[in-house]
Amino acid sequence: MTEPTIYELSSPGRVGVTFPVADVPETNLPQGFIRSDLPLPELSELDVIRHFTHLSSLNYCIDKGLYPLGSCTMKYNPRINEETARIPGFALTHPLQPEDTIQGNLALMFDLQEHLKEISGFAAVTLQPSAGAQGEFVGVSIIRAFHRHNADPKRIKILIPDSAHGTNPATSAMSGFEVVPVPSDARGNVDLVALKTACDDTLAGLMLTNPNTLGLFDENVLEVIKIVHEAGGLVYGDGANLNALLGITKPGELGIDLMHFNLHKTFSTPHGGGGPGSGPVGVSEKLVEFLPGPIVKMIEEGTEDLAPLYSLVTPKHTIGRVKSFNGQFGMLVRAYTYIRMHGPAGLRKISEYAVLNANYLLSKVRKAYHLPYDRTCMHEFVVEGSWTDVPDVHALDIAKRLMDYDFHPPTNYFPLIVHEALMIEPTESESLQTLDAFADALLRIAEEARKSPETLKQAPHTTPIGRLDELRAAKELVLCCWLPEETEKPS
């Protein structure tokens, strides 16, 4: 089932898309600057269509089935989003056009800013950051800028719960902070005693994911935020799990000072095989002037006859630009379309059903899988992917065997605080039938683990390709299919 690479399919002299002859008089090319060879493949258009069509058939995708990936919120990607993003009036605008020629774009961005503010309870939003991780970087940078601005540069510590996503400590460290882990207690909440101990006058802030990666809403969230605020720190909310909170609570009202959104999670923009994402950041009033620009401001209110006038502005104490131009605009259009279709009632329904689905699924699988933190979950839950009576079977084996049941595995080995973790998030898109089928598969696999563990250990059996040798990949490091100095193409 191996698909050749574009270089293997290439045939010298074959031509794909061509262009007209120049309609202007010829100018000589600059001497000494012309490349001697251009090592690109030579394919016909049909070659290309077939090749990528074959490749596409090797992929699992939301359109095919459930992705129960915890903290990824793999909900359905509405087709209408693809239509609106492609409206020529959006797609054919250049980012540097004079503002009076792109008021439509600015109006949409402004309205999206306003919607995100209202949903989350923040005073201002930037749509600049390209992804969640970049949103986090912005958040951490704002924390640093805030303390410096207040002449408090000794605040160098960022507290991060041990259940946090890897981007949290990575972002803090790359921004020059000292990362201090905070343990979780037996109920999966931030350990208040440990938190209080860690909060001194060197505290810059706490990065809090709520609900956390165990899918649990912190039972002491108000106390946690109070403790950090009293020590002079800021609370950053990792908004990855916002799908549980739409219309349920506003992070800004709980006291969170700043938060990033993941438009590609909560707001249905497609994952695209690894991107593009979009990670807007919302902030409370005292942090507004630190946002990266540009952001959209309404500089003239509209009247009955005239539309409002919008402009791109850079906040006074901005941390600086984090991306070229105006953010992942095409993703902003998609997210805004989604939000407008839902409105307040629809948004709340999303979270209600995300949480209902997760709790239902949990009620079905808990008889076969150990649940380390036994309380009502939010939109996701974590179980252990191992059993004491079959010590040889690991979460990885369960994950691989699920593929034979035509499901994408849940998130493995994360969060780190649960042994052989399986983090499961169904999202509100999935029907009762799909949930039952998935629960059924998990229960069968639990049986197979006892009766025929080899089936799991050698899984997957029915996928386009079997388990891959990752060790070999890391040792041999073949990262290109063909480079010019090779005399023959590899087979």
Binding site: G16, L43, A85, F90, G104, F217, H271, G273, G274, L479
Partner: protein
């Protein structure tokens, strides 16, 4: 509206869970803050949403309504129909990051091919799976150089003729690092400097020197002597390159670059008001463990079939956590696919054709504009598809008047360099016809007569 549950199903599920109502599931949320009102307009149907979005779009003028000579980092190029047709396949755009390689070979092989194409295009040995855009790729070059010297070299040297947005983003990224000094040479008069102007400023404390090729003003310079000097001081050379130009021009690799980055938007990605775009990052094999971002490697499965996996993942955030050198989690997956399809469709011949058309048309435009009394064109240095026009009056006035003729005349350089009030950066691509160019020239002549 995308929620499939019926009333009966919901009731059954609540029973299974053991609660009376959905609200009960949220009792953990503090009562005072539970179920807030969202002061937003009510939701609408798909039909209404489409109409609403079209209304926003109608308040814009596009590069098809106007004749576009605007570049400065984003360019209007022809995108073959096959690109979007393939991108719209749900198996590509609704797929997740390929962490489970057995069911993601489509994505993984496409990225592997992308890596190969970008390495070959830039004359380097390895490429990663992409960054958010050219500016963040430039910032990652800075981060890589910093870690390469383990923080012992604090100086980063930038040319004033790199895209100002790249400079800004690099600065934003590196300001969290202790002991980093970013120096830009020649900001007061960027047209006076060239890559060799940086040479006197390189020291043994320099980790990275960054130039652009063609530069922000469209100019092409020989980078060999700069590269030699950079290396003699033990530093690294990063070149920000235009990928279409590389269809024609000698590669930065051949000049001696250590890192090549750039904006991949010209490769089959629509202008879309600035995003989503595509940052590419290529380098030499010896630095492969220092690169941020995802990497796809070739391997075999248990039966000996060739396959692809994400590799060297131990460098990344989800494993190294606070020791990771970058926090990057996503790449621009679908945009990298677009570029891969575009380059596959054009191939060796097509890309050269496009590059040549851009070059020819830009030079025709430059020649004609130079003949208008009062206008001077920067032509003494070779250029690719963009050039600077010194206007007799302010460039802002010029572009305003050109807009009356439905022309986007170019980028007012005073927006990036305060001393350049009368300077306009004009870009020409294969989509500008001779008639477009003649009309631009006519309009400029008209403006200067007034």
């Amino acid at each position: 509206m995308f929620i499939p549950h019926t009333q009966a199903e919901t009731e059954g599920m609540l029973k299974s869970i053991g609660v009376k109502s959905i609200e009960d599931l949220f009792s953990v949320v503090p009562e005072k803050f539970r179920f807030p009102k969202l002061d937003l307009p009510d939701g609408v149907t798909e039909m209404e949403a489409l109409a609403e979005m079209k209304e926003y779009a109608a308040a814009n003028e596009t590069v098809e309504d106007l004749i576009c000579f605007l570049g400065a980092g984003a360019y209007r190029h022809y995108i073959p129909a096959a690109v979007d047709s393939l991108l719209r396949r749900g198996e590509f755009f609704t797929a997740y990051t390929p962490y489970q390689p057995e069911i993601s070979q489509g994505t993984l092989q496409a990225v592997f091919e992308f890596q190969t194409l970008m390495a070959n295009l830039t004359g380097m040995e390895v490429a990663n799976a992409s960054h958010y855009d050219g500016a963040t790729a430039t910032a990652e070059a800075g981060v890589m150089a910093y870690h390469n010297f383990r923080g012992k070299r604090s100086h980063i040297l930038l040319s004033s003729s790199i895209n100002p947005q790249n400079r800004e983003v690099l600065c934003t990224y590196l300001c969290g690092y202790e002991n980093v000094e970013i120096e830009t040479i020649g900001l007061d008069n960027p047209l006076q400097s060239n890559p060799d102007s940086l040479i006197p400023y390189i020291t043994e404390n320099t980790s990275l020197v960054v130039v652009q090729y063609p530069d922000f003003f469209g100019r092409i310079f020989d980078l060999s002597s700069l590269a030699t000097e950079v290396h003699s001081k033990g530093a690294l050379l990063a070149v920000i390159a235009n990928p279409i130009a590389l269809g024609l021009l000698k590669t930065p690799g051949e000049f001696g670059a250590d890192i090549v980055v750039g904006e991949g938007q010209p490769l089959g990605i629509p202008l879309s008001f600035g995003g989503p775009y595509l940052g590419f990052f290529t380098t030499k094999k010896e630095y492969v463990r220092k690169i941020a971002g995802r990497l796809v490697g070739e391997t075999i499965d248990v039966k000996g079939n060739r396959g692809y996996v994400l590799t060297l993942t131990a460098r990344e955030q989800h494993i190294r956590r606070e020791k990771a050198t970058s926090n990057i989690c996503s790449n621009q997956g679908l945009m990298a696919l677009a570029a891969t399809i575009y380059l596959s469709l054009l191939g060796k011949n097509g890309l050269r054709q496009v590059a040549n058309l851009c070059y020819q048309k830009a030079h025709y435009a430059a020649e004609k504009i130079a003949k208008i009394p009062g206008f001077l064109v920067e032509k003494k240095t070779p250029f690719f598809h963009e050039f600077v026009v010194h206007c007799p009056i302010s460039a802002a006035t010029i572009t305003e008047r050109l807009l009356d003729n439905q022309i986007l005349g170019g980028f007012e350089l005073s927006k990036a360099f305060p001393n350049m009030e009368n300077d306009l950066l004009v870009a020409v691509t294969e989509l500008n016809s001779k008639e477009d160019i003649d009309f631009l020239v006519e309009s400029l002549a008209e403006v200067s007569h007034d």
